[in-house]
Amino acid sequence: MVYVPVGEKSISVSVVVGECTKEEFRNGIVSGAKKDPRVVGWYDPYSPILDVTNTVKTVKENVKSARLTIFGSNLDAIRVQGPYDSLPPALSTDQVVANWEKGEEWERQRCPKNDKYYWVIYPCELEVEYEEVKPTPSPWLQMWQLLRGLFPFLPEEPPIVPPESPTY
């Protein structure tokens, strides 16, 4: 009858006064995401995937769809700035999308423990799908198409393509 050692592991816990932990901020985002109609899926239980097509369309052209994954599972990768006594001004849409392209989602969050506000910066990934852009026809081709509209018997292709710049 004997006990044999299996092993020993180290643990560590930080005690932080009166401030919300990264985990608490993250959990706030997760519970908010569960009610957000833009959420289309989950990368993992702490990382929502949002449809941000409308937001990205306001600053970029030819956007077909855009999805943003906010990664919340790795607490070490989350950064906190603050505290602030009042809600920091919101970022412009340009800045929001620029941050997404840098892999950062900036969230303004209030900590109920001290009634202060923070910028909480989450790692994220933006995936944008663009519309296929058709090349603009040359002015000569546009004119030919106009002529074909008036005279449908004309061939589809213009018989002669004039030079880009006329020479005199």
């Binding site: 299996v6 180290s10 643990i11 560590s12 816990v13 930080s14 005690v15 932080v16 985990e23």
Partner: protein, 111 residues
């Protein structure tokens, strides 16, 4: 010419199966807590042996020690949780989790 008996003596040989050492994982409910908040340490042990056994667990955190035992069936896992209250002084506190496994009679102790 012939054989004469000098006597007979008995002997025995015991064949023992060596127990396998178990393994364990540790999970913390929070890695950051406010003073006075509680944090739970959950220890999950794995018994790879074909016999049921007990694991003895000692958890040290915030300068306090808690211990307990858990019975685990053959080739099974079991877990036990320990709750600690954070002190008022700020800082990062290190602790440890030590686990021992009971080897029943009839099995050799792993080296």
């Amino acid at each position: 010419m012939g054989w004469i008996s000098l006597g007979a003596r008995s002997m025995s040989v015991t064949v023992q199966q060596t127990a396998q050492r178990g393994s364990f994982d540790v999970a913390l409910s929070k890695r950051e807590v406010a003073p006075g908040e509680s944090v739970t340490v959950t220890v999950t042990v794995d018994n790879p042996n074909v016999f049921s056994t007990k694991f003895s667990i000692i958890v040290k955190l915030f300068g306090k020690t808690q211990s307990g035992t858990i019975s685990v069936s053959s080739k099974s896992r079991g877990s036990k949780s320990f709750t600690f209250t954070a002190p008022t002084a700020l800082g990062t506190y290190s602790g440890s989790v030590s686990v021992s496994m009971y080897v029943p009679e009839g099995y050799a102790v792993p080296i």
